[in-house]
Amino acid sequence: MPNAETLPEIWSIVRDQEHRYSVWSNDKPLPVGWTFVEFSGSRDECLAEIKRIWVDPRPLGLRQAMAEAAPSAPQIER
């Protein structure tokens, strides 16, 4: 089954409250809980940009909790 999602159309980078990133077609209403990040292009372009900007995989809540618990602890790099 050809995946129509990969057909040439405009996609955007989106992010949820926990700062998880994904991509969404501009063609469809944005699902609840997600906001647009200022980046649009092909699906692959969006994914490449996410690879660049999403450096901390931890959900926002955990980042904050860890920062509070040990403000001086080194950030885990991944």
């Binding site: 089954m1 050809p2 995946n3 129509a4 999602e5 980078i13 989106v14 949820d16 409250q17 926990e18 998880r20 990133y21 994904s22 991509v23 969404w24 469809k28 209403p29 944005l30 699902p31 609840v32 809980g33 997600w34 969006c46 994914l47 490449a48 996410i50 690879k51 999403w54 450096v55 995989p57 931890r58 959900p59 809540g61 955990l62 909790a65 860890m66 618990a69 602890a73 885990i76 991944r78």
Partner: protein
């Protein structure tokens, strides 16, 4: 004109003494005649027109009107004539009227339902086309007026014509003037014959070949599992309505865009097919009705090929339709001719190219004089038809007419609703695209996606806290049984606590990972718990896995500490920035036994599980504590786990499912029996269960079959509460076996990608549950999850429609370690959630079942297309794995230099200690799968080729090659002699004396040549072709020749010697050997013995002008000798049907013949029938005669031809000349070789002379017959056995095949098998009674 002759048939009434002015039939009429001939009146049902007249209409008015109509329309007066050899022509005498019956009277009218009953009984009467009229009228005097019923045979009238007739009748009764009509009924056949010879037609055929192509795939709705084995002639109807408001809106929309409203309906149908069939290049049909007022059959199926995309609006679909329709009309070709053109491949069965048909019927103009009272007839030569007619209520009355058994009735039921939804949404605004249309309502989505009902409330504490709490409560309780070792909950807790303290000091904390490089053991579990307690994330590393893979995991996972054993140190790569702890050498006695005080955030990582994708290196899937603990708690409730649970987890620790299955019992305070070896034998497994009192077991699907087989054979399964399994598709037969053999109350089939945490979906059933499908269902979601089956536009698929599985909710992983882009690609925003969240795209094709559970169909990337069929490779692999000896199976579609063409190749690896019998496996596949799914080659491998990442290396799969043969040299002079002949004739070298003749390319003609060569060298040899077929190796054949007991010289081929069922005698067709029956006999299985007779034209005893009686002589003797007094069956194909019938008649009560099965048995063509006088153009006869004489002077077969021509009388010679004149090719001169065209031609003429003298006489014998679809389309003169035996049935139709290939058609095999089984059951019942 031909002189009609006295046909020597049982039915003497067709004798004609005078020749009316008669005309040929059209192709459509010939097809309907053939169907009528074999007793089928469902494909083209009769046209029935029932009208209730207003009380003021009088009987004499109606009678007069009918007389007027009969004079006006040839169709109402036609008569059919059978000419010599069976050709049918039609005439329309001026002075006849259709028969009319009048029921009731003014004084004694029919009352209430008597009227309907009378009309129904009248309509149900069969037509006798040769002796009567193809139409009849009934007038019923009812209480409140007259009711008239006209019944017309479909050969004279289609739907549009019936509507025209209705209009004429009403106008006539009203006394109106009728418009002139073209009296073209009789001329249409000849006109069509002329058209079929034109260049215009050739160009149109070219257009269709290009448009439809070879790789077509007809649009249709999803069919049910194993649809071909259910398909029968029966039809089902589903009526539904489009209400006035929607139809009104449709008409407005159409008007605004200058379209016909019927086009909008057709576009909605195309959209339905695209959305539900997933085919956006649909090939569908529409019925083009005639526009004439004359009564004729003119309707045509027009195939329409559309190129759609889900972004199109309905207007764009209409544009595509309009252009396809215009092209189709420009290139119109009789459908019967088109089928022959498109489905021209002789070597394979072909799928229909129109499976879905749209038909719009205008509403009959309402009349004050009469109201209509009958549902119109629908032709049913396609699998699915949608017929839409404007109804009296202002809306549309629609009907799905579909083949019973092909589609689930529930699916059609919903398709009706979907059609309405599509129409309503598509016309709501001009901008609505196909992808914007919702087929499934929000309420339905909510129900379908819902998880298992679960009222329990989850506790947010992490998994290890739950386990810890049980240890504190009851430390002496058993936690782990491992060989002779028993770990209590207390011991596990204390050890884990000590290690946790140690890990904390090494810097383990939130989102820091610890590798568990220890084999499955209590220590491994202890190490995992310690990691969790310290706040870290564990990564299981199997010490046995390839070093390169482990190295990648340890690096990629950013491992800070590696837990291992001293004896495994050499497996740990050097150069890692990690602390290695050897558990067996670690002294933790100084650490506290109490749990460390570490707070766990719900979002911090619990584990990272490495999973192999289809490409590249394994990816680490990171899972957080919150979803994990909730998942395990939900699973506990679905599985019914408690502190008394004692589970045997057999899943490996390298899969996340393996971890679920120890966490779950321990978290409930229960225990596990941890196998002390990577693999136990089934015996060891069952013994351990019994010994330790297991009540649950979790087993990899790949191991289940062995376990169940062992348990079944030894009856050694202990009673269990629950088995859970997963990891692979579970085939139906395996499920049925374990369901009976394992003595378990519950069975759970689990499914889940690592990315959605352990087992996000389960199918939980009682043992004994049945299901329809290749694989066991994967059920529904567990816990805080929902699952969706979505199309590529993320629209939910209706039940039964295949789409990709998406899993969303809390129970999904954080993502892939270090791969933000792949995480964003696979985890997408959840459009169905009201509170945010992500959906994981699984890559698995699935569909919702009727009960809302999900069925696994295959991998998205595992579906291929071959010759127009969509093939799920997994389905073939599942069939291969059904074989007990097959351990692993892989099927690929190869299209490379080695194969030269697209072909399916299967690779199989034997189970340990087993040998795979490739021919037997191949035969089993032919029984289990449709022909197009049977691999062209099955290649046994010692092991599947693996690349360094432990993934299958597809490039290393060997090309299919002829199996390496062992060459056995001849041992005797005779063997040597035969070997030389084989080499020369088969052109194969080397040949082993044990090679099977047929396996190395031998066929019937080769066999004959071998015999002739042998006879040249040894003139006295008695060997026959049957001897060679029965002894198909050089060694066995030589042995027969050397035997002195006179066994050689046989005319009989043993197709299968053994079996308890009555013998099946197979009679050969003309020019074919009985080898063609081999596949059929394979299909019927080992219990059905079968014997074949050598084809007469290949027989040594061949004589010129032998009669049928002489030919069957030896068969009859043989059958009498071997089956006297015994039950047996006959099978006759093509002309063999005649031989079978005559043999049955001759044998009479000497044998107990239970059933004759007849396959596509035709009468002779018209050419050589006695009395048929051929027509010649002026001078043509002399010219042909001269041609034949010149040819005879040149041919090497002069002597044979002279003998044949010598027995012909003058009329017959003229027929021969006509035959020669009608042949497209030059007369052949390549004889007398047995494979030459000339020899074939000679056999054909010789056979025609035998057949023409033969008369079929009635004989009371059970006959079941079948006809190939293509033979009907060609209007072949199939024999209607009901004319000869009172115990014959109307023939069933085998679609997608022709006269030559029907014998190998699987659809035929399954139906024949069914009939033989039926006959056998009857026989057994009788015997039961006797006893």
């Amino acid at each position: 004109m031909n002189k009609p002759f006295t046909q020597p048939h049982a039915d003497q009434s067709i004798t004609l003494t005078s020749a009316p002015d008669s005309h040929p039939l059209t192709l459509a009429q010939k097809r309907i005649w053939s169907l009528h001939q074999i007793g089928n009146n469902t494909v083209f049902p009769p046209q029935i027109l029932t009208l209730r007249w207003s009380p003021k209409v009088r009987l004499d008015q109606l009678q007069a009107a009918l007389a007027t109509l009969a004079a006006r329309h040839d169709a109402l007066r036609v008569r059919f004539h059978r000419f010599a050899g069976g050709r049918i022509e039609v005439s329309a005498p001026a002075d006849v009227q259709p028969p009319m019956e009048i029921l009731g009277s003014e004084s004694n009218p029919l009352r209430g339902h008597e009227v309907e009953d009378a009309a129904a009984a009248f309509a149900a009467r069969a037509f006798d086309l040769l002796n009567g009229s193809p139409s009849r009228f009934q007038l019923v005097m009812a209480e409140n007026g007259l009711v008239s019923t006209l019944v017309l045979h479909p050969i004279v009238c289609d739907c549009a014509a019936a509507a025209a007739l209705r209009e004429d009748l009403i106008a006539c009764v009203a006394g109106q003037e009728l418009p002139l009509v073209a009296g073209d009924f009789l001329a249409r056949g000849a006109a069509e014959e002329r058209y079929l010879e034109t260049a215009e037609l050739a160009a149109s055929l070219q257009y269709w070949r290009q448009t439809i192509g070879e790789e077509y795939s007809a649009a249709t709705l999803p069919t049910r599992f194993n649809a071909t084995s259910y398909a029968g002639a029966a039809r089902r109807h589903r009526r539904f309505a489009i209400d006035e408001a929607l139809w009104g809106a449709t008409k407005d929309f159409a008007r605004r865009h200058a379209l016909g409203p019927d086009q909008i309906l057709m576009a909605a149908f195309a959209i339905l097919l695209a959305r539900c069939g997933g085919n956006y290049s649909p090939l569908l049909g529409t019925l083009l009705a005639g526009k004439t007022r004359s009564i004729v059959r003119t309707e045509q199926i027009l195939p329409l090929r559309l190129q759609l995309s889900s972004r199109m609006t309905i207007l764009e679909v209409c544009t595509a339709l309009r252009s396809a329709l215009a092209d189709a009309i420009r290139n119109i070709v009789p459908f019967e001719r088109l089928i022959q053109e498109i489905q021209a491949h002789e070597e394979r069965e072909q799928d229909a190219f129109v499976k879905s048909l749209f038909e719009f019927r205008p509403r009959p103009a309402p009349s004050a004089l009469a109201t209509d009272d009958a549902a119109p007839a629908v032709r049913s030569d396609v699998e699915l038809a949608l017929v839409a007619t404007p109804g009296s209520g202002g809306g549309i009355e629609a009907l799905f007419d579909y083949a019973d058994g092909i589609y689930q009735p529930e699916l059609i039921e919903r398709a009706a609703q979907h059609f309405e939804r599509i129409l309503a949404q598509a016309i709501a605004a001009d901008t609505v695209r196909i992808k914007d249309i919702a087929l499934v309502s929000n309420d339905e989505i909510a129900v379908l996606s819902a998880p298992y009902a679960d009222d329990g409330v989850n506790d947010d504490r992490p998994v290890h806290d739950h386990i810890s709490a049980h240890a504190r409560q009851d430390p002496e309780r058993t936690a782990i049984i491992h060989g002779d070792e028993i770990w209590t909950h207390g011991r596990l807790e204390q050890s884990a606590n000590r290690l946790a303290h140690h890990l904390l000091r090494l810097g383990i904390g939130a989102d820091v990972s610890v590798a568990i490089a220890v084999k499955r053991s209590p220590e491994a579990i202890m190490g995992i718990l310690a990691t969790l307690k310290a706040g870290g994330a564990y990564i299981p590393v199997e010490p046995d896995h390839p070093t390169s893979r482990n190295h990648h995991i340890l690096r990629d996972g950013g491992v800070k500490v590696i837990l291992t054993n001293s004896w495994l140190l050499d497996r740990i790569p050097d150069g890692l920035d990690a602390i290695i702890l050897e558990l067996d050498r670690l002294d933790l006695s100084g650490e506290p036994i109490t749990p460390p005080d570490v707070a766990i955030h719900k979002d911090q990582l619990a584990y990272i599980m490495y999973t192999s994708g289809s490409t590249g290196l394994p990816k680490g899937v990171a899972v957080e504590h919150g979803p994990l603990t909730h998942h395990i708690q939900n699973t506990s409730r679905v599985y019914g786990m408690s502190e008394i649970s004692r589970e045997l987890p057999f899943l490996p620790f390298s899969s996340d499912g393996g971890h679920e299955r120890w966490m779950n019992p321990l978290m409930e305070g229960g225990s596990i029996i941890l196998p002390d070896q990577p693999l136990w034998t089934p015996e060891e497994t069952l013994t351990a269960m019994r010994k330790h009192g297991a009540n649950n077991a979790s087993i990899p699907t790949t191991y289940l079959q062995q376990l169940a087989e062992w348990a079944d054979a030894t009856d050694s399964a202990p009673p269990m509460r629950l088995y859970s399994f997963g990891g692979e598709g579970l085939a139906q037969q395996t499920f049925d076996l374990l369901s009976t053999a394992l003595k378990s109350e519950w069975l759970i089939n689990g499914y889940g990608p690592t990315e959605t945490i352990m087992t996000p979906m389960v199918w939980k059933v009682r043992a004994g549950e049945k299901f329809e499908g290749t694989y066991a269902p994967i059920g529904r979601a567990v816990g805080n999850r929902r699952v969706y089956v979505l199309d590529p536009d993320l629209n939910p698929c209706p039940i039964g429609v295949t789409g990709e599985l998406y899993i969303g909710g809390e129970g999904v992983a954080r993502g892939y370690i270090g791969k933000a882009d792949i995480t964003a690609d696979r985890f997408i925003p959840d459009p169905f959630s009201n509170e945010g969240g992500r959906l994981y795209r699984s890559g698995d094709l699935t569909r919702w079942r009727e009960d809302g559970t999900v069925e696994f169909v295959g991998r998205v990337d595992h579906q291929v297309k071959l010759r127009g069929y969509r093939i799920e490779l997994g389905e073939i692999e599942a069939a291969l794995l059904q074989d007990r000896s097959v351990g692993e199976a892989l099927v690929v579609l190869r299209d490379d230099e080695a194969t030269q063409q697209k072909m399916l190749v299967a690779y199989v690896v034997a189970k340990q200690g087993a040998d795979i019998d490739i021919p037997a496996l191949s035969a089993a596949l032919e029984r289990a799968l449709p022909a197009y799914m049977v691999p062209s080659a099955i290649m046994p491998l010692a092991a599947m080729p693996i690349n360094p990442n432990s993934k299958l290396d597809r490039f290393a799969l060997p090309a299919p090659a002829p199996v390496q043969r062992q060459i056995v040299m001849p041992a005797t002079a005779l063997e040597e002699e035969i070997l030389d002949i084989w080499r020369e004739i088969l052109n194969v070298d080397p040949i082993s004396v044990e090679d099977n003749f047929f396996a190395i390319g031998g066929n019937s003609l080769g066999a004959i040549r071998i015999l002739s060569a042998l006879r040249r060298q040894k003139p006295q040899t008695p060997a026959t072709i049957a001897d060679l077929f029965n002894n198909p190796t050089i060694r066995s054949f030589a042995a027969v020749l050397e035997r002195e007991d006179g066994k050689a010289g046989s005319e009989v081929i043993v197709l299968r010697a053994s079996g308890t069922r009555p013998m099946l005698y197979c009679f050969p067709g003309l020019l074919v050997s009985t080898r063609e029956y081999v596949r059929l006999v394979d299909y019927l299985g080992p219990d059905q013995p079968a014997t074949g007779f050598i084809c007469y034209s290949l027989s040594e005893k061949k004589e010129i002008g032998a009669s049928v009686d002489e030919i069957i002589e030896s068969y009859v003797d043989y059958i009498r000798r071997t089956s006297a007094g015994q039950p047996c069956y006959f099978l006759g194909w093509s002309w063999g049907g005649l031989l079978a019938y005559e043999a049955a008649r001759r044998l009479g009560n000497d044998i107990d013949l239970r059933l004759i099965t007849m396959v596509d048995v035709c009468d002779l063509g018209t050419e050589f029938a006695i009395g048929a006088k051929p027509r010649f153009k002026p001078g043509e006869r002399d010219h042909l005669h001269a041609t034949v004489q010149q040819w005879l002077a040149r041919t090497a077969m002069r002597a044979e031809w002279d003998r044949l021509l010598g027995v012909m009388d003058a009329d017959t010679y003229d027929q021969f000349l006509r035959f020669v004149g009608d042949e497209k090719d030059e007369l052949p001169t390549d004889g007398p070789d047995i494979s030459s065209r000339e020899h074939t031609f000679w056999i054909l003429i010789d056979n025609a002379l035998i057949f023409r003298r033969h008369e079929l006489k009635p004989h009371d014998v059970p006959i079941h017959s079948w006809a190939a679809d293509d033979s009907l389309n060609r209007g072949l003169n199939l024999i209607d056995w009901r004319r000869y035996s009172p115990r014959a049935n109307p023939a069933e139709i085998i679609s997608g095949t022709n006269h030559l290939h029907v014998i190998g058609s699987q659809a035929f095999h399954s139906r024949l098998s069914h009939r033989l089984e039926e006959a056998f059951q009857n026989l057994s019942k009788e015997h039961g009674k006797v006893r």
